[in-house]
Amino acid sequence: MYTILIIIPLISAIISGLLGRYIGQKGSGIISSICIGITAILAIISFYEIGITGSPLAFSYINWIDLELLEINWGLYLDSLTVSMAILVTLISTCVHIFSIGYMEGDPHKQRFFSYLSLFTFFMLLLISADNLLFLFIGWEGIGICSFLLINFWYTRLEANKSAMLALIMNRVGDWSISIGIYIIFYIFGSISFTTIFSVAHNIEENTNITLFVIPLFIGAMAKSAQLGLNTWLPRAMEGPTPVSALLHAATMVTAGVYLLIRISPVLQYSNITLTLIILIGSISALLAALMALTQNDIKKIIAYSTMSQLAYCFIACGICQYDIAIFHIVNHGFFKALLFLSAGAILHSIYDEQNIYKIGGFINIDPLIYIAIFSGSLSLMAFPFLTGFYSKDFIIAASLGTYIYIGSFAYWFGTITAFLTSIYSIKLICLVYLIKPYGPKKHYILESNHSIYITIPIIFLTIFSIFFGYFFKDLFIGFGTPFWGNSLSISYSLNLLEAEFSNSNFYSLLPLCLSLIALFFTIFYYFYNSEFLAIRSTIPKLNYFSKFKYIFSNGYYLDAIYASFIIKPYFYFSNLTNKVLDQGVFEFLGPTGFIKIFKNINISISYYDTGIIPHYGVYIILSLIIFFFLLFIKPLIILFFVLTLLFI
């Protein structure tokens, strides 16, 4: 069953990709949706079998690489962590497949699209079920390639090409780093199998050797999860079709980075430096991503930046060693973020892909269903009490304070401010799109906004999940002393959870929530009485200076420009230099040209003796014989030198 679970998406990809001609446009969508649906059902069954009944399993099919040094089996390693990710991936993938049937209507390349989506699902399943780092890496590369193909799906658009290349190159940085990590792991452990690494990790010298390979893996995770510094590809990736953004760049692919950190948690545990670094990077990118999201006009980019900020929460959770909360937040976030993206896609689908939120407005009466979906998704995103996001996100913030280390309180404050900003931009989005009066052109509103059944079903499904999932699964995932995780995570049942629950003062526990609520009401007021606020603002002229900061945020801190001027330009200059001076100059002279000259000269000087006259040959033979007699008594190197000098004369 577990083999079928992984193989079915691949079969689906092959059917719709290679046999797309025979099954037709509609057929490819339906067949691949059914395939992925079966996978989802199997994933739920395996969630029950492996996760809930607590029987992890590992098995290998064939021996792939068998050197004396290195032995790699093609095997699966299925435990609670895997199946938690598997239900996330397969359920969202099913929703996205069904949604795409409606969304991609009229596109001439549907078969290709479904093929890519299924292939992505296959690689993601491969990644989460791998039993060694090499297979994880294969899945990792595979989802990178699928990401490239899907962003570049409308390959005639220049912007799409540029974004796809940016995504691929940024991910290459991470891949490079991960491969280095794997080499170091192989060097230290002599194996890259997870079980081996985890079993002997406690014997490895802490903080030096472990840090050596954990940091490269962390950098790879940063690139995949779009953390600060390597984040520029994520908003640009919104060039692809919206279902792609929902599947890859919100719910599943970007979670691969966090998944990697959680997977290596038994090793990560030992490296305090890396943990500190993770918290630091996570907190800062959470805040900066929220600030960026605040200043965007594009509906998809807002959601994309919020993804970055939510993943940063997961990083914080990893950094404070609460891996179960991290995986819980990933799953929750997957559901409500997919919901947000699909809803945004539904809106865009009905209004000719107008992505600027300032040009929409007043959709609440036209599109109430999508309004409900996006509203519940947003509330879940900003951790409104008793919705899905609340159970994990709020808990991360509380737990980070409960660590009682300075870096923990650092994370707490950054997280709190981020939560505040999150509610501002979420509510801003809802206000601008739905609540305030219409700003869009007339043709947006005279449309009959009847979404097809393919669009509504996934949205309703995900709405239910993003409201109730956290409530139902809280005890299973992060309940105190839950047996669900078994050995799959390194859970230190320290007092952190208890501290977070009970010992934090009420003020600090309630602060994030209160700030979110304040932000919510404040934003609604701001947009309903916009003219009054503007009037007040115009009376304070100095405020305009502050508003110039906005440009820094909205341009992503000019990271692209910084990379271009500080890395890419010197790189091109350097490569020009090496090409002109070294490659075509020095090496050419010392290499091919020079060698040809030298050997030609030697050849001519030797063949001068090659007369073809027998007495000459006799003389050479006698002379060589004399040299051989010398060799008996003198060291051979001297003779060599002697002969060589003779030759060159």
């Binding site: 050997f599 050849n603 030797i606 003796y609 000459h616 033979i621 060799l631 008996l632």
Partner: protein, 479 residues
């Protein structure tokens, strides 16, 4: 037993009872028969393990290594005689009775050399190998009736080459005899086993013995055509017809090399400097001199000098390593170069080629044959997945492990340089402006095509399961 049967066969031949066509076939059958007997001896008896047998009143000595050497020789002879079955039925010199007679005499000498354990037998065997070679080199001159056998345009080049071969070869024989005299004068012994015992007693302090031994080594190197004494080799190999080149450039080398590697007497540690020096010179000269050559057989002669350099390198280490490396390299070299010569001979059937440039556009004429030729040259150059890489690799590994860093480095460099001229041939075959269809398309008969395809297949697929062949070779070499 074997040798006696050969002598009988030679006597039968000399009476000219049979037609020449049958003579070639009978000699092929006999060589196959001998190979099979030797194989059964190797795999079915435990007699030779750990010790050998003195025969002919201790003039000869047989152990498992000698048997393996004889097997390789007979195997090669079978292949070379198979060439006689190619294309032409009339006027094929390999099917004439005198040529076969000469070849069989030489084979007799080779078998004697391999089992000889005495300085006298050794010199006699060497003479017996050499004289038929001189004769066969100059036996035939270019004539209208000998079309398709790879004669040079110059009518007398074969005779020049034969004379050169005779004179230089005699010089080598003189050295060997003189060396034997020195050894006999110093020790009073001619039996090699006895000499070794004496050396152990005197703790290697016999100075005149050293000079004699040096002379014998020089004589053997001269016969092989190793570097400081190499000048005759390209001239001779180039001058004689291709079908004779196949014979004299491959087969006589095997017994000499195996004899050298089986008798560490001549190359005990102090004297291994000589073979090392010769190996160094062979590598350098062979790889550099081949660069500007435009005649194909001359080029192959220089390439054989490079390979001799490699074999000598492993022979210099033979005191410390398994004989397997050397034998394996010899076998691989024989297989590859026989494949090349088979292909050249089959090209000769439709057009006589002397120059490299005449191979232009060969790929358009016969794709599979040119593919086999390219694979063989890659193997000679030592490009990794092919057979030639592994033999080189083992030798370099051994010499590196023995801390011969300088010569290892030099041999690596020379291997790179010699790649240039192999690749040049491949370039000429594939990419040069073709004069294709200048000669009519080549049709092979079954024997030749089976041999070529088998060796090409072996070269290509060795990488898949090399252990099979290693085990085959390794089991007899437990000693």
């Amino acid at each position: 037993m074997l040798t006696i049967s050969i002598i009988l066969f030679i006597i039968i031949l000399s009476f000219k009872i049979l037609k020449p066509v049958y003579i070639n076939r009978i000699s092929i059958l006999i060589s196959i028969y001998c190979s099979i007997i030797l194989l059964t001896i190797i795999f079915n008896t435990n007699v030779f393990y750990n010790y050998g047998i003195s025969i002919y009143n201790s003039l000869g000595y047989i152990s498992i290594n000698q048997i393996i050497g004889q097997l390789i020789v007979w195997f090669t002879i079978t292949l070379v005689l198979l060439l006689g079955e190619s294309g032409k039925t009339r006027k094929n010199i390999l099917r004439s009775s005198e040529y076969t007679l000469i070849i069989l005499l030489s084979i007799l000498g080779m078998n004697f050399l391999l089992i000889s354990n005495d300085l006298v037998t050794m010199s006699l065997a060497i003479e017996l190998i050499s004289f038929p070679l001189y004769i066969s080199a100059s036996l035939y001159k270019n004539d209208e009736i000998y079309e398709g056998l790879g004669f040079n345009k110059n009518n007398l080049s074969g005779i020049y080459a034969g004379l050169k071969y005779l004179l230089i070869g005699s010089l080598g024989s003189v050295f060997i005899l003189l060396g034997s005299v020195f050894i006999y004068g110093d020790t009073g012994l001619t039996n090699i086993t006895n000499i070794i015992e004496l050396l152990n007693i005197f703790n290697n302090k016999l100075e005149i013995y050293k000079i004699g031994s040096t002379l014998i080594i020089v004589g053997l190197l001269l016969k092989l055509g190793c570097a400081p004494f190499h000048n005759w080799a390209p001239d001779v190999y180039d001058g004689v017809p291709t079908i004779v080149t196949t014979w004299i450039s491959i087969v006589p080398k095997i017994p000499f090399l195996i004899f050298l590697s089986l008798h560490p007497l001549f190359i005990y540690p102090l004297l291994s400097n000589l073979t090392l020096f010769s190996s160094f010179c062979s590598l350098i000269i062979g790889s550099i001199m081949g660069l500007l050559i435009f005649r194909i057989k001359r080029l192959l002669a220089y390439s054989s000098i490079v390979h001799l350099g490699f074999i000598l390198l492993s022979i210099s280490c033979i005191y410390y390593i398994n004989t397997f490396t050397t034998i394996f390299y010899i076998v691989v070299y024989v297989i590859t170069s026989i494949n090349i010569f088979f292909i050249l001979n089959s090209i000769n059937l439709s057009k006589n080629i002397e120059l490299l440039s005449e191979l232009k556009g060969f790929v358009y004429n016969n794709k599979l044959l040119s593919f086999s030729l390219i694979i063989s040259f890659f193997s000679l150059a030592g490009i990794p997945p092919f057979l030639g890489f592994y033999s080189k690799y083992f030798i370099l590994l051994d010499s590196f492990n023995l801390e011969y860093y300088f010569i290892t480095f030099i041999s690596l460099l020379c291997s790179v340089i010699s790649c240039v001229y192999y690749l040049r041939i491949i370039k000429i075959i594939n990419f040069d402006d073709n004069i294709y269809m200048n000669y009519k398309s080549i049709h092979l008969n079954e024997t030749i095509s089976i041999v070529i395809s088998f060796f090409t297949f072996l070269t290509l697929t060795f990488v898949l399961n090399g252990n099979l062949i290693f085990n085959l070779f390794n089991t007899p070499f437990i000693i």
